[in-house]
Point group: C2
Chain length 333, copies 2
């Protein structure tokens, strides 16, 4: 197959040197001049490793700005590190390109560089390859934790409070607005609509909370596939259940406006996904300290329910009635 | 976008449990029940990390057997670890699937399991996602080396011998035969033709040589993009040049037969790539020990030239005439 390709165009080495070497400041990256990178964790620590890929037409729009694509690709991985209590250490990038366009690559790499710096997560290495299909970005990110300190998905116990960061549903509503291409803002102001779309395009991973989670959380998960489904996963892994109160789920002003106008968007909010917030189980005796530490880390947190012994996640509305969902989270297939 | 997807089909968790959990025996994989894995290198060691992706229609044929696709995806990464002198420690798998088919996944995962075991490189984690385009497999592999002992691409010095493992050109010739779909075996027996195609489909990474390289090589690279081009890269990184003698390049019997019949296939042999052999620079005083250690490791090695101070790689034919190539290696774009 390889031979059938065009001989024209940018060569891989040149592309890496021009666009990606500036991101590879860590000594272990070896200036991207070798086929592999070096990564070493401090003594008494270990690596938390996660990998997430995004594909045009599935996880983002091919027409999205290259800046947004780059940031989303890195941030969905940073979000996993945050939920696991790990400090970012570096990442590997695999870029599947239909055809390399300079202007696009420049903006993609430029944005990635800014995020790599902002989150202290340098590029260590990668692979740039041709694809005949849609663009894809696959990232493997490394973080460090003291040995045995990773916050796991399991471990929640009855009585623990279920806490969630930020606001829920913005990204899923933003996607809805984006799919409508602005023809229908569903009653929102242009600014409010834009804020939701922005939440879909560029998530805000909660890395400042990672140390707080290590200290106070019994279990955690990042909310990527939908709040209800991800709390289900945490509970399932822990062999417990949970009761969640819709009235306590933190919502942005824009999301509230939309929900007031169209109450049937509730399922989108609670099961739509792409939030990249963190849901965690905090033992009651840690609650005060957790809240205080989260505040110091500048991450808003809200209590949305509690863990119960009985399996299954029950979501109740304002009147205490159980809400049923046709599906609890985004299905990957 | 995510919302536009079908609700039918296999869910990701079920798919992972059924097909991939059996590969995830390492404790750090956490039975694939979390969003991240744990990886720890021994004290005094560090990780060598590499990532390589393959895409249907570019690096393999969509119709290739799932066993072969799985093995190639892992082995191209193992080959990088081998060239860098690293012992495999584990890998992360990202699988971009047009649609998940059970029979396909079963064979893919089954073959991957065998290779993971054979190369002592367990699955640590991964991501399975939907793509609207061709199937792709992106793997990030980890290996361990004593701190500072990674065999780098640079470091070759004038006088070093250029050595290469195995035989060169088989995979590129195999690809040619495969593209001809058996209509023209170019004079080879069916068995010989099949042996070349097999070399294209399933490379043999030279991991048994990794310790030998650490002890005796000044620089090394795995031959993935073509022998001449990859030796160029090694020399360029080292700030030196090389002289290679075509007559000394090790060829399989099948490749020899083809070259005798069609001498113009020489460029395919020397620049076609997909060999996944190792080229390395061995100081003259290490040569005997290198050869003996390679023999003990059961990896055939051959001297194909030597490093010179003058930059550039000169390839000479039997009569000592310099051969020029229109391109020295596979271009990724």
């Amino acid at each position: 197959m390889r031979k059938a390709e065009s001989r024209a165009g940018m060569d891989e080495e040149g592309l890496i040197a021009r666009f990606f070497r500036p991101l590879a400041g860590a000594p272990g990256a070896l200036s991207l001049l070798d086929d592999a990178a070096l990564a070493r964790h401090p003594a008494g620590h270990e690596f938390v490793v996660t990998t997430d890929a995004i594909v045009a037409g599935v996880h983002f729009f091919a027409s999205d700005q290259p800046d947004a694509i780059a940031r989303k690709a890195l941030r969905v991985n940073l979000s996993d590190l945050a939920a696991k209590g790990a400090a970012p250490a570096g990442f590997l990038l695999t870029l599947g390109l239909p055809k390399p366009r300079e202007a696009w690559l420049k903006r993609f790499a430029g944005a990635l560089r800014l995020d790599a710096k902002a989150f202290a997560c340098p590029l260590l290495g990668g692979d740039t390859i041709k694809t005949t299909g849609p663009l894809f970005v696959s990232i493997t990110a490394f973080g460090t934790v003291p040995i045995g300190a990773m916050v796991q998905r399991h471990g929640a116990k009855p009585g623990d409070r279920i806490m969630v960061t930020g606001t829920i549903g913005d990204a899923a509503l933003g996607l809805l607005l984006k799919q409508g291409r602005g023809r229908d803002r569903l009653g929102l102001t242009a600014k409010a609509a834009k804020s939701l779309v922005q939440r879909y395009l560029i998530p805000t991973p909660r890395n400042p909370l990672s140390v707080v989670l290590r200290r106070h959380a019994r279990a955690a998960i990042d909310v990527s596939d939908g709040l209800v489904g991800d709390v289900c996963k945490l509970c399932h892994a822990s062999g417990v259940g949970a009761e969640l109160a819709v009235a306590r789920v933190p919502l942005s002003a824009a999301a509230k406006t939309l929900l007031d106008a169209k109450p049937n968007l509730l399922a989108t909010v609670l099961t739509g996904g792409d939030d990249f917030e963190i849901a965690c189980a905090i033992p009651p005796d840690q609650l005060r300290r957790f809240r205080a530490a989260a505040q110091r880390a500048n991450v808003p947190v809200a209590e949305i329910g509690h863990v119960v012994a009985k399996r299954g996640v029950r979501v109740t509305d304002q009147e205490g009635k159980v809400i049923r969902f046709t599906k609890t989270s985004f299905s990957h297939f």
